[in-house]
Symmetry: C2
Subunit: 348 residues, 2 copies
C-alpha cells in the first residue's frame, strides 16, 4: 500500500525508460543483453513486482480462473481443488473459488475482469446451467465443465458408463440375476449414466432391463438407509448397486440392522471410493473416479485454452476403475483376517 515499487522506480534505478523495463519483464525482443542484466538486477534489488491491475488494464492478462463449485460434496471438492491448484500454480495461474450463487455471479466475475475463464463443477439445476453456458459460449468466454458434460461444451468427465458396466459384469460373474439400482436424484446425469452402463453391462451378459429394480435416493447415507428399508423387503434383490458410497453405506446400515449378512445374504457395491469405504465392515467394493486427475486435467485444458486461443477442446473422459473389496462377495485378498482393515491405507 505505502511502498509500491513501480516500474518507474526500476527504470530510474538503472537509467533506462519504463518501456525498456517492460520489455525485459515480458521477455520481449531487442534489448541489449547487458541492459537486460542491469534491469533484472534492479528488479531483484528493489523487490519489484508488476502491478496486476496496471498490467491487466493495459491489455495484459490476469491469469486467473474461477472454479465454481456447488456447495456440497466436501472431500470430493477438496481433492478437485487440490488438483486444479496444483496445475494452476505450476503454470502461473490463480484460482478463485466460488461456491455460493455461482450461477448468478459468474458473468459478473468476468465482466469485472476478475477472471479470464471458468471451470464449473455443475451438478443439479441442468436448466439454469444450460442457460448460463449458452450465454458464455455466445460471448466467447472460455469455460469448461467438470463431471457433467452438457451439450457440446468442453468437459472433463469420468467414465460413469464404463463404471456401471464394470459393476454389472462383476455382478454377472457372481451369478446375480436380480439387482437393485439405487440412483441419485432423478435428474442427475452421473447417476443416469451409471445406470445406463449398468444396464448395458447386464445386457451384454444376456440380462434384460427387467433384471434391474430401481430405487431413488438423494446421495445421502440416510436416503440410502431409507430406500433400503422401503424397498429391499419388498423386492428382495440379490445385489444392490448404489450410485454413490454414502448411499451404499446406508444400505449396509439397514442390512446390518435387519441382521442380514453382507455379502452372504446380499451383495452391495457403491460408487466414488470414499475415504471410509475401505474401512467398512465388510469393506465396500466400489468404483473409483479419478478426482484429482479431473482437477489437473481441467486446469491443464483451461490453461491451454487461455494461452493459445484457438486450441479447440472437446470432451475428455477419464477412466474409472473397479475397486474390488469384500461387499460384492469376493474373497478380500489383502486382508489381515480383519474385515475392517485392508492394510493399504491408500486413501491417505
Amino acid at each position: 500500500m505505502s511502498d509500491q515499487v513501480t516500474i518507474e522506480d526500476v527504470a530510474r534505478a538503472c537509467g533506462v525508460s519504463r518501456a525498456t523495463v517492460s520489455r525485459v519483464i515480458n521477455g520481449e525482443s531487442r534489448v541489449r543483453p547487458q541492459t537486460i542484466e542491469k534491469v533484472n538486477e534492479a528488479i531483484r534489488a528493489l523487490g519489484y513486482h508488476p502491478n496486476l491491475h496496471a498490467k491487466a488494464l493495459s491489455g495484459g492478462g490476469t491469469d486467473t480462473v474461477a472454479l465454481m463449485l456447488p456447495g456440497v460434496w466436501r472431500s470430493y471438492h477438496a481433492i478437485l481443488i487440490e488438483g486444479v491448484e496444483e496445475v494452476a500454480s505450476r503454470e502461473g495461474f490463480h484460482v478463485l473459488v466460488r461456491t455460493k450463487d455461482y450461477l448468478e455471479e459468474a458473468e459478473r466475475l468476468f465482466d469485472e475482469g476478475r477472471v479470464e475463464g471458468f471451470i464449473f463443477r455443475n451438478m443439479d439445476r441442468a436448466e439454469e446451467h444450460a442457460k448460463l453456458f449458452s450465454r458464455l459460449a455466445r460471448r466467447g468466454i472460455p469455460f469448461l465443465l467438470i463431471g457433467n458434460p452438457l451439450g457440446d461444451y468442453p468437459a472433463i468427465a469420468i467414465d460413469n458408463v464404463g463404471g456401471g458396466r464394470m459393476v454389472a459384469r462383476h455382478f454377472l460373474e457372481h451369478g446375480f440375476r436380480r439387482m437393485l439400482y439405487l440412483s441419485g436424484p432423478a435428474d442427475h446425469a452421473d447417476s443416469q449414466d451409471r445406470y445406463f452402463g449398468f444396464r448395458v453391462g447386464l445386457e451384454e451378459g444376456g440380462l434384460g432391463p427387467e433384471a434391474i429394480l430401481r430405487a431413488e435416493g438423494d446421495y445421502t447415507t440416510r436416503s440410502g438407509f431409507e430406500a433400503a428399508a422401503r424397498l429391499i423387503p419388498e423386492l428382495e434383490p440379490e445385489a444392490v448397486f448404489a450410485a454413490n458410497d454414502r448411499m451404499a453405506l446406508g444400505v449396509l446400515l439397514y442390512l446390518r440392522k435387519r441382521g442380514l449378512g453382507v455379502p452372504g445374504d446380499m451383495a452391495v457395491v457403491g460408487f466414488d471410493d470414499a475415504f471410509f469405504s475401505e474401512y467398512l465392515s465388510p469393506p465396500l467394493t466400489t468404483v473409483r473416479p479419478p478426482i484429482h486427475e479431473m482437477g489437473t486435467t481441467a486446469m491443464k485444458t483451461m490453461a491451454s485454452i487461455l494461452r493459445k486461443p484457438g486450441s479447440l477442446t472437446g470432451k475428455i473422459i477419464l477412466p474409472t476403475s473397479l475397486v474390488v473389496r469384500a461387499s460384492c462377495g469376493c474373497p478380500f485378498a489383502p486382508g489381515e483376517g480383519s474385515p475392517l482393515f485392508d492394510g493399504s491405507f491408500n486413501s491417505e
Copy 2:
C-alpha cells in the same frame, strides 16, 4: 473482451460526466436523487460492471483475500473453504485459494495487488511461518491464522486444550488410571495443546503426568496402527487418546487385529469427529472442532479488518465439544442395537 461497457458509455448515455456516474456507483455524497435514478437506469440498461483493475488502479480496493492451505486434509479444508466462501460472498469479497508453495508466494500475491489480506491455515513448518508472519506484520499487511495461533498475530483457534481436558475428565469418570496419548508430529501445536489439556484434566482429577504414556504418530491411519502395534503390547494402557480420528482408527484396526475388544479391553477416543467416525465399530468417541464456524469467523474477522482498518483483533477461540459414542466405554444411547449405526447421520 470485445464489448467492454465503460463508465464513459454510461455517462454519455445519460448525459452526465464520468465523475457523477462514479459517485452513484460508490453511493457517494451529493448527487441529486433524480440523477441517481437516471444513472442507475443506464447502468442496468447497458449491463455495466465497473472494471476491477481500473478501480483498483485508481485507489479502490479489490475485496479479494487469499486463503492459504497446506496441501493435505481434504474434507477438513473443504468445510473450511465453504465457511470462508459463505461469508465472503455474502459480504462481497472474493477468495483466492492457494495450496502449493503458499509460503513462498504469499508476499508476491500481495505485491502484485492480487489480494488485500491473507487467511492462513498454518500447520507444520512453524519456523518458516513465523518468519513470513513477522514480515507481513512489519509491512502492515492484514492476515490471520486459522487453527494454530502463533505469537501475537490475530488467529481463530479451536479450544484444543478444552477438548483434551474433556477427554481426560471423561476417562476419569470411567475410572482409567493408565492412559496413552498418541500425538501428531512433535512440533505440531494442535497436538501439543490437546496433550496439555489432557494432562491438565487428569491433574484436576488427581492424576500426575506419570499416568500418561506417550507415543508419536503423524496423523495418518497407518501411523496410528503402527504406533499401537509398537507400544500397546509393551505399555498396556487402559485407554488411548489419539490426537486425531485417523490415528484412532489405526489403533482400532490394530486392536481388532489383535483380537482385543473396544471398549471392553481398551477404550479409544479420537479428535476431529471425521466423517467416518460415527460409522466405525464401535462408533468412535471424539472431540468435534467447529470447522465450518472457523471458516466463517475467519472471513468475518478479515472482512472487518479490511473494511475498517484499525479494528484490532486478537485471538478468537471457538469451543470444541465431546461427542460421546461407544469407543470410550459408554453405553451408546442412540443406537439401534447396531454398533455401526448411530441413527443420526449428522455429519452430512
